[in-house]
């Protein structure tokens, strides 16, 4: 970045602000584009799973469909329901998307590429993802609609419940990695696919993935929306851009969960076989810094999200609660104790 030195001198102390903003934009814009194409991928993949074609009219293979959708949503009128709490009605989508974006600050993309390499990174992500629920609750309450309110209450109960199982699954990762720093957690898994935390923490990995589905209100846990029961849940009264913002937040959270799963259980930017990073094609190392590995792992987790959606019917509400409280939390607790006990034996190496 030598060519930026004169700019840096000219801006003086403001430089830090400008440079950080530039980095944030460099994360946010690709993220939003990923969301756009994730929606297309979702429709295409589920289409093929159901022996349909999916969107194929806008652009070649429907590749411009997301932009058509965005344009449609931008030009739609925003309808404010009568008796709605106007102020909170518009603040709610912002409260949903703010935390979804902010959590990306601590996600390391490669060994060196991270916006904020903080010590308590994992806790920060956990704290921010727990704030996202405010957007949903307030949307439901401020809409002054029974369906929206029911959706909000369901979602609040569900997210608070699954956060506990999710937190306990992360405790297992902390025990294995001995750190809260996301970059160091990945570095603890060096050495190839056999060293990834997914093996010693397999039950926690499954619990984390399923809780991730529940946290992001994805099928089969999309109680907050549940078209067949409460129309569209918390965002039934939202239209146009306000709805688009909720949509964006949900998909960003999906990608975030995928990124965290890849970082904590699947070795993040590390290659499944370290030698692969030295492969050169036409003088370039395609896997050089490992970003492609992370992208591939995230894509795989996201594919699983879509796959689950196409496969399973929606849970009944009491079953969702039962699964969270009576199955996942005990499983994680038992595995944490087991992990702690094994670390005291001569097999401690297997559990790092």
């Amino acid at each position: 970045m030598d060519f930026l030195a004169p700019v840096q001198q000219w801006l003086g102390p403001v430089w830090v602000v400008v440079w950080t903003l530039a980095k944030i934009v460099a994360i946010a814009i690709p993220l939003i584009l990923t969301v756009a194409y994730l929606t297309l991928a979702e429709r295409k993949i589920i289409g093929y799973m159901q022996v349909r074609i999916g969107p194929n009219r806008v652009g070649p293979f429907g590749l411009l469909q997301p932009f058509a959708d965005v344009a449609k949503l931008l030009f739609k009128e925003i309808v404010v329901p009568s008796g709605a709490n106007r102020y909170l009605f518009f603040v709610a989508p912002l409260l949903a998307i703010g935390p979804a974006l902010a959590a990306w600050a601590v996600i390391p993309f490669t060994d060196t590429l991270v916006l904020a390499d903080i010590n308590a990174g994992l806790l920060y992500v956990l704290a921010l993802s727990s704030i996202g629920v405010y957007g949903i609750i307030l949307a439901g309450w401020a809409s002054n609609s029974k369906y929206a309110f029911l959706g909000a209450l369901r979602s609040a109960a569900q997210i608070v419940s699954y956060e506990i199982a999710m937190g306990f699954a992360l405790v297992g990762v902390l025990m294995a990695a001995n750190t809260l720093n996301l970059s160091d957690i990945v570095r603890g898994q060096e050495g190839g696919a056999a060293y990834w935390y997914v093996w010693p923490l397999l039950p926690l990995f499954i619990v984390y993935f399923v809780s991730g589905l529940a946290e992001t209100n994805r099928h089969p846990f999309d109680m907050a929306e549940g078209e067949s029961e409460i129309v569209a849940g918390f965002h039934v009264e939202y239209s146009g851009v306000a709805f688009a913002v909720f949509f964006l937040a949900e998909y960003m959270n999906m990608i975030l969960i995928a990124a965290l799963t890849a970082l904590m259980f699947l070795g993040g930017w590390l290659a499944p076989w370290p030698r692969l990073n030295e492969v050169t094609v036409l003088g370039m190392a395609p896997f050089g810094d490992g970003f492609l590995w992370l992208a591939a792992k995230m894509s795989f987790v996201l594919l699983c999200f879509l796959w689950v959606r196409a496969t399973f019917p929606r849970y009944r509400y009491d079953q969702v609660m039962r699964l969270g409280w009576k199955v996942f939390i005990p499983v994680t607790l038992v595995w944490i104790v087991f992990l702690g006990a094994m670390m005291q034996t001569r097999y401690a190496d297997l559990f790092h």
Partner: protein, 197 residues
């Protein structure tokens, strides 16, 4: 005034304003949201003190869980807050006493640390979480365990006090549901086809 102090005063101003709004706002949901803002800014102030673990735990526990349940209750219950608010001014003597007491206590701590030469506590080296974990799980492990057992007892007592089977509500036993076999539910009838005349 350094940048650091400027941020502190900004946070403090937001915190005090939000705290005032918690008690003065008319709408209970708004009050709960102002309280959320209070917790959030308090976490910001703690971050300035390099207490990152405590700050994030505050957000995680209070903002992420406690206040969500609070909002839940405030939204669900149809409390007539205007009637509760009628005697707002009559609470002034009690509030003033508590406020003065808190102020005195804080003054004692501040003055005490200045006089006693304690000053600000040193910032722990390296990871905050590790330092706290060492204190809780190594140095003070028994008091910590006792506190945990007390909490557990309190949880069990609270559940035992409030838990009762309500006769009018329906229950589903997942175990029984799983055990259901086809033979118990489905009966195949052999109906002869009728001929149309």
């Amino acid at each position: 005034m350094t940048f650091h102090t400027a941020i502190f005063y900004a946070f403090a101003a937001i915190l005090i304003f939000a705290a005032l709004r918690v008690v003065t706002t008319r709408n209970p949901v708004h009050a709960a949201l102002w309280l959320v803002l209070c917790f959030f800014t308090a976490a910001g102030v703690w971050l300035l003190l390099h207490a990152e673990f405590l700050a994030i735990a505050l957000v995680l526990v209070y903002v992420g869980a406690v206040m969500v349940l609070f909002l839940f209750v405030v939204m669900m219950l149809d409390v007539n807050f205007d009637s509760l608010r009628k005697n707002f001014r009559s609470y002034i003597p009690v509030a003033a006493t508590v406020g003065v007491l808190v102020l005195l206590e804080m003054a004692l701590v501040v003055v005490g640390s200045r006089v006693g030469g304690g000053g600000a506590p040193p910032v722990p080296e390296g990871s905050n979480t590790k330092a706290l974990g060492r204190l809780i799980y190594v140095d003070y492990v028994y008091p910590f365990e006792i506190a945990a057992v007390l909490l557990l007892v309190a949880i069990i007592a609270a559940i035992a006090l409030t838990h009762r089977k309500r006769r009018e509500s329906k229950y589903q036993d997942p175990g029984l549901q799983v055990k259901v076999r086809r033979q118990d539910r489905v009966r195949l009838l052999d109906l002869p086809t009728e001929k149309r005349d």
